[in-house]
Symmetry: C2
Subunit: 143 residues, 2 copies
């Protein structure tokens, strides 16, 4: 299972510590550069207000199965956190699409480090994702 880089994400965040903890907190404009070989796949993207971005967390190294987060002092299972240090360091963000200029997508709401390899773009369709009332375990009341 080998991934192919299809573009690159340009943001003002140069290190992990500069990144906001979750994308919903970020009003920062960023740019997604889609490589020429893949630009044809962007046809009709302008009609979408939000898109789902998958990218490689290229600055994350190693992982622990129990992690502490900014939300509390207890260790929690890695898979109940969004820690970038994971067996497969893939980041997911739902971002607002501001504008498309050729192979550049100007977006709002991403916490990626500058230079993160782009892996995929999918349409964001709320019916597919929104679940109404959800329980969020140990994160309840913290986010």
């Amino acid at each position: 299972m080998e991934l192919t880089q299809i573009g690159v994400i340009h943001t003002p965040y140069k290190t992990l510590s500069e990144c906001p903890h979750q994308t919903c907190k970020s009003e920062q404009i960023a740019e997604i550069e889609v490589y020429d070989d893949y630009v044809g796949g962007l046809k009709d993207v302008e009609g979408f207000s939000h898109i789902l971005i998958l990218y490689w967390l290229h600055k994350a190294t190693g992982y622990s199965l129990l992690v502490t987060t900014p939300w509390d002092a207890k260790p929690h299972g890695l898979f109940t956190t969004r820690s970038p240090r994971r067996p497969n360091p893939i980041g997911i963000s739902v971002v607002e699409l501001i504008e498309r200029r050729g192979h550049i997508l100007r977006i709002k709401g991403i916490d990626a480090i500058d230079g993160s390899p782009l892996i995929d773009i999918k349409p964001y369709v709320s019916e597919f994702n929104e679940k109404g009332a959800v329980k969020i375990g140990w994160l309840e009341g913290k986010v």
Copy 2:
């Protein structure tokens, strides 16, 4: 960017044509088997009603940048569709967590083919994902 399989998804769907078009349509119970090396990362997962699953679309081969979908007859940009045939065939589903039994997660709402390699599990937190009113381009009124 090499991925590591951390588990496997067990579903009744043996071929792509048996899969529902979107996970929201599926009431089928499925099981996610997390390999022993990663079970420690499931601590506290029981508190979550929904989790986000990343998996490898192992039966998808090749891709086209323009694709037609079940929704209409026009070709659309690949990245505005959820076609499994993509440069990086990674599937994402938000699923309902019914029960955890050790290294098995019983879930509802996935359209993966039986045997799909598990790549990652993340907590589903609606505040991170729900965007209120969204525009969905050519998909409007179709889903």
